[in-house]
């Protein structure tokens, strides 16, 4: 927990963003260093770490990161904006999420307007997460709905996406094949099986 490490960790975070690699421990460690040495706090980097953790979904690294901040930081506009985005993702509000993201990006006072520059793979990572959730939730879903959930503007990008994930398009419905193990089945425990010995005892008693 040396104050001199802060600069190194900040560089690490930048590297993670540009190369689309992610190491949870390094990212959170920077926040922990800020916790111990608040005089060295850099809000920009806090934002960056939070953005990184957003793409770690479905793991809730974002929450872990929040726990390492404090009340004052929590109130800051930049943090609130990201918390809002995370909330939309966690509550399945994907369509709203893309809308909000667009608004934040166009807002000139926010750091997010440079998001594409310092974190080019952000959109793709989020789409992957959404795809995972969609995969386990839907069996058949309307094409238009899927497009809005995944922020795919035209059919061409949609087809590419479907091909990558092994989903099929039938007319206007996208079919997501279910793995056979999770097919609906009724779990049947040995419910009503009575052992003969037990019955024997009961019969004995009822006879006497």
């Amino acid at each position: 927990m040396n104050i001199n490490y802060i600069a190194d960790f900040e560089k690490k975070v930048d590297l993670m963003l540009s190369s689309n690699t992610y190491d949870r421990r390094s990212a959170l460690h920077l926040l922990k260093l800020y916790q111990f040495y608040p005089e060295k706090l850099n809000l920009k980097y806090i934002e960056k770490v939070l953005i990184l953790t957003l793409t770690a979904l479905p793991q809730n690294d974002f929450t872990l990161a929040l726990y390492l901040l404090n009340e004052d930081l929590h109130k800051k506009e930049e943090v609130q904006r990201l918390i809002n985005l995370q909330l939309l993702l966690e509550t399945g509000n994907f369509v709203e999420f893309w809308k909000e993201l667009k608004i934040s990006k166009s807002n000139s006072s926010s750091n997010l307007k440079n998001l594409d520059k310092f974190y080019p793979k952000f959109n793709d990572s989020v789409k992957e997460f959404i795809a995972k959730i969609v995969n386990i939730t839907f069996e058949n879903v309307e094409k238009e709905l899927l497009k809005s959930i995944l922020n795919l503007s035209d059919d061409i990008s949609l087809s590419a996406f479907l091909r990558n994930h092994g989903w099929n398009l039938n007319n206007h419905t996208v079919n997501i094949p279910r793995p056979t193990a999770t097919q609906l089945k009724v779990l049947n425990n040995a419910e009503g099986v009575v052992q003969f010995n037990q019955l024997k005892k009961i019969i004995e008693y009822s006879r006497s």
Binding site: R25, Q35, I133, Y205
Partner: protein, 502 residues
Amino acid sequence: MSGEHLDDVDIELNVYGEGDDSEFVDDAAESYIETSDNAFLNEPVKNFIHYFYKNFQEKNVWGLSGLYMQTFHKITERFFKTSHWPDVKLIAKEVNNEQGVFQYELPNQWLYDIIDEFIYQYQSFQQYLRNKKKSKEELELLKKNFSKISSNDSRPCWDVNYVLSTLNEVVTISNINEPLTAGNENQDSNLGGSEYSQKSFYRMLGYFSLIGLLRLHSLFGDYDLALKVDTLENVQLTKKHPFSKLVVISRVSTCYYVGFSYLMMNRFSDAIEVFLNSLSVISNSKFHNKPGPHTDAITKMQEKIYFLLAICVSLSPQRIEESVHTVMREKVGIDVFIKMQRGVEDTLNDFGELFQKSSPRFISPVLPNFDNFSPLPNPGDYQLKIFLSQVKQHTKMSVVRSYLKLYTTLDLTKLAEYVDSSPSDLRTLLLSFKHKTINQKKVGLIDNAPTKASGGFFDGEYNNSLNNELDFFIDKDMIFINEFKQKKNSADWFVRHIVKFQ
């Protein structure tokens, strides 16, 4: 350098370690010797100190252990209920003020207590720093103390880095990792290691320091690091492990902090497993041992664990043992529990209350401004706030869950009507439902050792709905629901009871 640290600890030992045989106490109750400077050093205590020192010298660990655990307790209650133990100097006089602990062996319980107290004192100090208004002199003193950081000769007491590094150093010196890893892979855990690690004193101290680090990181709110503490991965929670067998409170404490960290990470299945394990540890220990020095602490912890368990079960419904379930419901209050399960709006207060009752006392490593002192906010409040926002998301799902349980197929629009929302909102909710219920679960948490290979406490596989009783898919506008119900073998139950009543 480490020698110095241990010497500090040594002084503490001399203060704590007393005890007496009951005979001494009863006999000497009347004969209370009051000398001019040994104000409260009466006969039985004196005798005790001599007897104790004898044991100490002869490395009689069992004797020490008995003295420490039982008679210390009795003596403290009898004579020192309100006042503190006599000044260390007086006692040191009696025992020739020896230093140099390295040769001696100490009972494990004691070692655990040392670490425990160490952290507790740090915790209290931090809270003291933050809270009351202080007089000018106090502020000056504190300021002077902490500005020593710049001068290189001595570190101020309770500097956070000092605390952390002490614990880390003990762990490194004792080289606790090797025997733990070896033990987990069923090798001879006495091999290797330096001369230090051979001494059980250092080993145990190292082991307890690992637990101490776990606790400290949880208190700072860094649950991820708490679980990853070097080779906490190797700390096993089961009975079979040779290290943790003896000190019950250490196992309970470990389970508590591990479980709490899991809870804050939203890993409810793991948390529940750990809590259940700790409850069985506590009930086993109560059964075997007579009340020891830590019964109060264990009881308090047990209650906290019940509260946390209630929170977990409400947020992620799972079947748990009937007996535990009943006690838990009683502790929390049956009305409150039902409210929590149903996830109605105002239940957030209940969650909040339970959380505050059962969470550890959080601290923050930041020092206040000594020149312009004002009480700083309590870090626990912030943790609570974040936690409640998580809870809020979960409670929305409870209503939908109860409806889903009733059907095998259900039309989306119909369900939307039932829960008073639009189909698109409902679809959103169901997506989040799925997201929340893919629990990350550590396979074989309790039974097997979390070895390095299996990634320790932190990793775990995603386990889709195996622990949840409810699973569903959306096909266009229809929801297909599948419920895995563990059907009770009712026939068997009936037969057994019929035979009983005959």
